[in-house]
């Protein structure tokens, strides 16, 4: 691990100034995946700007939205009464991820910034465009069972592994950030970037920017469910997951949100499936027809074609759960 200096700002403004003064600095908060990356030599910060203790850990009711502080722990997200009442899929996704030890320290911002888990990214001696840009990708045509089928490019097929991002994508959250050029808001749909030719650029964050909160519109009137399929019952990344939130009124689906994990290089929303459901009366035939539309745009590798039928079945399962009257 490269040695670093630890800086402890007392305010957000000072933290941003410190980052601006040190181009190779990184913010540190929970420091879970980040410490892994530093041990592996993939992250080599010259300075760590420690933003714990700046009051960014609160979860608050802001009228139309629940504001998840950037440094609220995953444990807090899982158990907070406001989350459970208004945006329950946030809690469901967090509880399906990691372990209690990790959830106690991992944060909202760190969760959505976590790096991919493609084996070729972690193992030394393999080609990976996210690890070393421009070197190529050994995952394409390699061991790709766990890799993405949507949003891929020739440069990268790594899955965005977070569970939480599926809830935030389905709920149309907004990421509030601040940085050297001031504060701004990033719609969650635009936060994670498709790999394209520059897979090393993973988010819309500009250099030195800091996440302040993730604002989640209240989904109090919706029924939400997160269904995760993995190779062991606990503490495993998703082979595949589906998060859904729906409203049924007078026997018709009036609102539908669906996003899938374990399949996309970014959190994968399924607008074509949603469109096929809204206005219709819920039922098994409709669900199967709509779920079949989820295949649109899929690019299959050597070992991950199983994800297409599994995705359809998971969608049907979630639709059944969230439209029960």
């Amino acid at each position: 691990m490269r040695s670093f200096q630890l800086l402890r700002p007392r305010s957000v403004d000072t933290a941003v100034e410190m980052m601006a003064a040190h181009p190779e600095a990184q913010y540190v908060a929970g420091g879970t995946n980040q410490i892994d990356m530093m041990k592996a030599g993939i992250h080599r910060p010259s300075h760590l700007v420690d933003i714990a203790g700046l009051g960014l850990d609160r979860i608050t009711d802001r009228g139309d939205v629940i504001r998840l502080g950037a440094l609220a722990s995953n444990t807090a997200l899982a158990t907070d009464p406001l989350v459970l009442e208004h945006v329950p899929m946030v809690s469901q996704t967090v509880l399906e991820g990691a372990t209690q030890q990790i959830r106690n320290v991992a944060t909202t911002a760190g969760n959505i910034l976590q790096r991919n888990r493609c084996p070729y990214f972690y193992v030394p001696g393999t080609r990976c465009n996210r690890k070393v840009p421009g070197t190529g990708c050994d995952a394409v045509g390699g061991f790709d069972r766990l890799n993405a089928i949507f949003g891929t490019s020739e440069s990268c097929i790594a899955v965005m592994p977070s569970d939480l991002v599926i809830a935030l994508r389905a709920y149309d959250a907004t990421v509030r950030v601040t940085g050297p050029e001031g504060a701004r808001e990033i719609p969650f749909a635009e936060f994670h970037l498709l790999p394209g030719d520059t897979p090393e650029v993973e988010t819309a964050l500009r250099p030195g920017e800091m996440i302040l909160s993730v604002d989640v519109p209240k989904a109090t009137a919706l029924t939400s469910r997160y269904h995760k399929i993995r190779e062991r019952r606990s503490y495993a990344f998703a082979l595949l997951s589906v998060g859904g939130a729906a409203r049924v009124e007078d026997g018709r689906i009036t609102e539908m949100r669906l996003a899938a994990g374990g399949v996309g290089t970014v959190p994968w929303r399924l607008p074509q499936v949603e469109a096929a459901l809204v206005g219709e009366a819920p039922g098994p035939d409709l669900f199967e027809r709509a779920a079949a539309l989820s295949r649109e745009g899929a690019v299959i590798g050597r070992q991950n074609s199983f994800k297409l039928p599994l995705l359809e079945r998971a969608i049907v399962r979630v639709l059944t759960d969230i439209t029960e009257v």
């Binding site: 540190v28 209690q100 606990s234």
Partner: protein
């Protein structure tokens, strides 16, 4: 940063001056009460002085700024009860309590946790006066090789204290971060149920 800092990696003075740039005070390097002598030894060029609160004692130590709490405790403070399994946050062998919450010491930078209350397996019970969870692990034969056991026990206590030991399934879910390669899981769960049912560890208010 000063030239001195560059030359020496991170000296204590460099460390302090680096933070002073941001008008930040480090409440960490002050000694409290009955701090022991600094543990001697070669700790490399990036050594700084740290003060840690472990098992109710204040310990002053020189250690590399990059050192995990796990390495500092094992290599510098001779607290080897906490085990290093994967060193990557996967196995749970290094589970400790930090301000009452269970944490993975391998992913915890020691330098960031000066002043926090750290409890390790050594702080839980003694050979002549076992903590009820340690006693239950013995009675239920909840281990074979024993390597994961300190982490299992630290995690098991927290599992009950946080109210996540209501059912067998809940215990299994909330203990999933502690892996036992010997496969003693059924006996570990039984030990936790036993301690819970006897009221020897109880849910703590949050």
């Amino acid at each position: 940063m000063s030239d001195e800092t560059k030359a020496s990696g991170v000296s204590r003075r460099g460390f302090l001056s680096g933070t002073a740039a941001g008008a930040a005070a480090i409440p960490l390097l002050t000694s409290e009460g009955h701090a022991q002598e600094i543990v001697p030894g070669d700790v490399g060029v990036a050594a700084i002085e740290m003060t840690l609160r472990v098992n109710g004692q204040t310990r002053r130590v020189r250690a590399d700024i990059r050192a995990s709490l796990l390495d500092v405790m094992r290599d510098r403070l001779e607290l080897t009860g906490t085990k290093k399994g994967c060193d990557a946050g996967h196995c749970g062998a290094c589970t400790i309590s930090l301000n009452g919450e269970r944490r993975l010491a391998c992913l915890t930078l020691a330098v960031r946790h000066q002043g926090d209350e750290i409890t390790t397996i050594e702080g839980l019970g003694t050979p002549g006066n076992l903590h009820p969870m340690q006693d239950a692990f013995v009675r239920h034969d909840a281990f074979q090789c024993g390597y994961c056991t300190p982490g299992q026990i630290m995690s098991a206590v927290a599992c009950i204290e946080t109210g996540n030991a209501g059912s067998r399934d809940q215990i299994k879910e909330f203990m999933s971060g502690n892996i036992c390669r010997c496969g003693a899981f059924p006996n570990i769960v039984a030990a936790i149920e036993d301690v819970r049912d006897a009221g020897l560890v109880t849910e703590q208010g949050t």
